[in-house]
């Protein structure tokens, strides 16, 4: 029998606000332990929260980018559970009325596009950080725990997908697409290493054609796209093995162990998951009228999906389109300017994702320090088109332009790379080459077509590579055949 994995992904995104969600402490990453703390985020007696307007507008932006609806009224709830790094003994989160709901993302895995539903995006706050001293990677082997509350109260957006994902590869594609959008919006550092974006996956399996959902297992602690893909892949196999060996899947949370490349069960005390949600009485409802929603919508930048579509409409194939789409911003603006200045989009895209990107990598310079502009790139494309320079010489011209030697035409002149395309000048060279290569000529006449290539080479050498190969070819043939 064949099994179908059913996967839903929960993503927690830390917003890059100046201050925390409910207090004025800095939300910056990497400060000395317990230096960005105040009565509110340390849950000192008497302290109460006041929400950060920027965070609310940014979760609205995230929701809109994921094609969600923004609720016209939304409320905060208290999610009650005890944990050392949760200072209030509850997390301010959302329950039945999230800020955003019912959206979707389209992802493409080897040419096949699928639409992943997004159930909700809600606002909440991060916890502090526990460091388990004497930790061997297993929480229960720690000797003591150090607590730092700098992250406590940092705004978090939780995005919950519908169980529409069907493979480890799709899981990875979904996570990457989501991350690129969040980064594009500029609302988060979206750094996996720093935990500013985190993924949990809910996985179950069922037989092909089955419509009921199987028992789901939640897996945590994947800190790269690769480990997400590996962990999902591992868990799918594990579940299939369990079921095929006649076992049952237990609903539980499992921890991905990167080194061992396995997931293992995290023991949780029975009953500990009754969160007793109730409306946060320290806060008042949020009302998001259409005026507010539209003002947020108007601030949204062009998102990767929209951009890829625009590139494809310019005649770029899907691959080139997505490569350029994920290229650094400055390269994308150069492309737009070059097209504006008349360059063929495909040619411009090829230069930028090819030679220019290679140059940046080789010289280890960042895209925004580029001297190249759209007009210059368009001119470079043009002189290749016109045959003023050969495509190989054009690369050298680009070098010159990037080195700040001037416009493509002037660089071509200065570096003496302009092709000889005027026939009279070339005819002499052709004539002398033919004179010096009688044998080749007779071979050709005897039907050995390929010697033409050899003769073209001779003419090119004689012209120090400046001859326009097309014209040389025509001249040779007319002489030989004539």
């Amino acid at each position: 029998m064949s099994w179908e994995p059913v996967i839903g992904i929960e993503v927690h995104v830390e917003l890059a606000t100046e201050s925390k969600m409910f207090c004025g402490c800095s939300a910056a990453f990497g400060a000395e332990p317990n230096t960005n703390v105040c009565p509110v985020c340390l849950a000192l007696p008497g302290a109460i929260p006041v929400p950060n307007r920027q965070a609310i507008e940014w979760i609205m932006a995230v929701g809109l980018a994921f094609n969600c609806e923004v609720s016209d009224r939304s409320v905060f709830h208290r999610k009650n559970y005890f944990y050392a790094d949760l200072p209030k003994g509850y997390q301010i989160s959302q329950f039945d009325i999230p800020v955003c709901h019912d959206g979707h993302l389209d992802i493409t895995v080897d040419g096949h596009t699928s639409r992943i539903g997004i159930e909700r995006a809600h606002m909440e706050e991060d916890t502090g950080k526990s460091t388990h001293v004497g930790d061997s990677g297993r929480i229960h082997s720690a000797e003591s725990t150090l607590l730092d509350f700098n992250r406590s109260g940092v705004p978090l957006v939780e995005v919950v997908s519908r169980p529409d994902i069907r493979s480890a590869a799709e899981s990875r594609a979904y996570a990457q697409e989501l991350r690129s959008i969040v980064a594009e919006l500029g609302v988060s550092d979206a750094r996996l290493e720093e935990g500013s974006i985190r993924f949990d996956a809910n996985i179950s399996i069922r037989q092909e054609g089955e419509t009921e959902l199987g028992t789901k297992v939640e897996i945590k602690n994947m800190n790269s796209f690769r480990s997400l893909e590996r962990a999902v892949d591992y868990e799918i196999k594990r579940q299939i093995d369990v079921v095929e060996a006649g076992g049952k899947i237990v609903q539980e949370t499992r921890h991905w162990d990167e080194e061992a490349a396995v997931t293992h069960s995290m023991r949780t005390k029975e009953g500990s998951s009754d969160y007793r949600y109730f409306t946060e009485p320290d806060l008042v409802p949020m009302v998001m009228d259409s005026e507010w929603v539209e003002s947020v919508r108007s601030t949204l930048p062009e998102l990767p999906a929209q951009r890829r579509a625009r590139y494809e409409s310019q005649g770029l194939d899907a691959h080139l389109g997505s490569v350029l789409s994920s290229a650094p911003g400055p390269l994308r603006s150069i492309h737009d300017a070059a097209v504006e200045a008349g360059a063929t989009p495909k040619v411009s895209a090829n230069w930028l994702t090819g030679e220019v990107t290679a140059y940046l990598r080789r010289t280890e310079t960042s895209a925004d320090s580029l001297t190249l502009n759209g007009e210059a790139l368009a001119e470079l494309a043009a002189i290749v088109e016109e045959g003023v320079v050969s495509s190989s010489a054009a690369k050298e011209v680009l070098e010159g332009v990037l080195a700040g030697e001037g416009s493509p035409r002037s660089v071509a002149e200065a570096r003496d790379l302009v092709q000889i395309s005027d026939t009279s000048a070339l005819e002499e060279i052709v004539a002398s080459v033919l004179a010096d290569n009688q044998e080749a000529v007779s071979n050709y006449r005897a039907g050995e077509q390929k010697v033409v290539g050899f003769l073209v080479g001779q003419v090119m050498r004689a012209s120090q590579g400046k001859a326009d190969p097309k014209i040389v070819n025509q001249l040779l043939r007319s002489k030989l055949d004539g």
Binding site: P45, A47, I48, V50, N80, F82, G89, R276, F278, P281
Partner: protein, 489 residues
């Protein structure tokens, strides 16, 4: 009349005329405190040095022509659930023994900048959970009118201090009647403002949607001008009212002629002491003689208000008190794991009433019981609001007893939670609705114990509430003071 017996208004006048100094006033109050604390135990902490320092500053300021308002140089008492920077704040709980806050509650900083002189921190029922100030980890407080009886609660310490003269005005918090009921039992004026008008920032939370800080004073005028000094929008409190604030003294001296007053039918009968009902009835007829149009109104949901309150308040408390886990501050028990440490610290640190309410609230919110209990209680709360709206569409203010009984003997209700809870039957509805209400003393019963009269008004109706309260005070002509034999400690 000795200085510690002065009203805020009278003391303020003498300070400004130069007749007395703030230091003299503070000395008088501190002296009275040390002579009565052995009997009353109104205070948990008396900050003699801080008080005299603040008083000297107040004198210096006045000398320089700086007058910070009605409380300038006035000795005040703060309930020990309001955070005071550098001054121990325990909420009468073992779990906060020795806790020194790194910040002032908004109300406290307003009082300090208003020139008030903080005498100390007063006793309360642990985390304000109680109606007798007997649930204190540091010992009960007693009633100045009869030290064998309770002062009411949970703001019993502030009430006893003001009644006894060991503060000119006190501050309490009122979640279900914790200002008005002790005021009633100690013969002073106690007032709960409209929810959202006095900042809760720095008030150790009991039930966030119900808690309000308010004044306990010698008379209605003092209560009104004290309220005026502490209320106002606070950006640190998301539930703070940002609009126009009424002037609480606006309608003083206007009397009740032409006002329509509603006597609440549900707040009488079974469980109400005859002396209380008689005194209240007498005042009601005096009010109509004074020109008020008095009608009986019925608010049927008042009969289930107590039930709703004892689900909503504990539910919120169960979360509000989750931060006391022995990790960042307060009492810590030893435990092999974090979980064991938290569970033991909490079990050791909380007293029985607090533990009971945490369990009650946890249960009311837990899976399978939420809808029948917490959810339904919220529906009742809405229905109570609707009953109030209907009533206020017909009358300007509602009147009732503040407490069904006078001060009861110490220990009388400690073993019967339900009986204790019934002490707040008259005051709870205004907390559930968020409306303002005040208790005014109208006389003594046959045992010489004070009886309080409650005036309730619609949201932001403080002006009309005080207008009625002032007339009640005038008609009652209540000027008795408790006699406490002074003993040096």
């Amino acid at each position: 009349m000795t200085l510690h017996e002065l009203t805020v208004a009278a003391a303020g006048a003498r300070l400004r005329s130069g007749e007395i100094t703030a230091v003299e006033l503070a000395e008088s109050v501190l002296g009275r405190a040390s002579a009565t604390e052995a009997q009353l135990h109104a205070y948990l902490t008396i900050d003699r040095e801080g008080a005299l320092e603040a008083a000297a500053k107040a004198d210096a300021d006045l000398a320089d022509g700086i007058d910070n308002g009605p409380l300038h140089g006035i000795p005040i008492a703060l309930k020990d659930n309001m955070c005071t920077r550098g001054l121990e704040t325990t909420a009468s709980s073992q779990i906060l023994a020795g806790y020194v806050p790194p910040y002032d509650a908004t109300v406290v900083s307003r009082l300090r900048s208003g020139g008030a002189v903080v005498v100390g921190k007063t006793n309360l029922d642990e985390f304000a959970m109680g109606s007798s100030t007997e649930n204190s980890a540091y010992g009960a407080s007693y009633n100045p009118w009869d030290i064998g009886r309770v002062p009411g609660g949970s703001s019993g310490g502030s009430a006893a201090a003001v009644a006894a003269g060991s503060a000119l005005v006190g501050f309490g918090s009122d979640t279900g009647g914790s200002i008005r009921q002790p005021a009633s039992l100690t013969g002073i004026v106690g007032m709960k403002p409209t929810y959202g008008t006095v900042s809760r920032y720095g008030l150790i939370a009991f039930a966030s949607s119900l808690d309000q800080i308010g004044p306990l004073a010698r008379n209605v005028e003092d209560a009104a001008l004290t309220l005026d000094a502490i209320w106002g929008y606070d950006p640190r409190d998301a539930t703070s009212y940002a609009g126009e604030y009424p002037n609480p003294l606006e309608d003083f001296g206007k009397g009740v002629d032409g006002l329509k007053l509603g006597v609440v039918k549900e707040l009488s009968g079974d469980g109400y002491e005859p002396a209380v009902e008689a005194a209240v009835a007498a005042m009601i007829s005096r009010l109509s003689d004074a020109g008020a149009d008095v009608v009986e109104v019925s608010l049927p949901t008042f009969d289930i208000a107590l039930s709703a309150y004892y689900l909503i308040a504990p539910a919120e408390a169960s979360a509000n008190l989750a931060r006391f886990d022995g990790i960042r501050y307060g009492h810590r028990a030893t435990g092999k794991t974090t979980e064991a440490l938290m569970a033991k610290s909490r079990a050791e640190g909380f007293g029985p009433e607090v533990t009971r309410r945490i369990l009650l609230g946890t249960y009311a919110l837990s899976a399978g019981y939420y809808d029948a209990f917490y959810g339904q209680a919220q529906r009742v709360r809405s229905a109570i609001r609707e009953d109030f709206s209907t009533a206020y569409s017909q009358v300007d203010a509602l009147i009732s007893p503040t407490s069904p009984t006078v001060a009861f003997p110490a220990g009388a209700r400690t073993d019967d939670p339900l009986a204790m809870y019934l002490s707040d039957i008259c005051t709870i509805p205004s907390n559930l609705s968020g409306h303002p209400a005040v208790s005014v003393p109208i006389g003594l019963d046959h045992q010489g114990l004070p009886i309080g009269f409650q005036v309730m008004a619609p949201a932001l109706g403080e002006a009309v509430m005080f207008r009625v309260a002032e007339e009640v005070e005038r008609l009652a002509g209540f000027d008795a003071r408790p006699e406490i034999e002074e003993v040096a400690r």
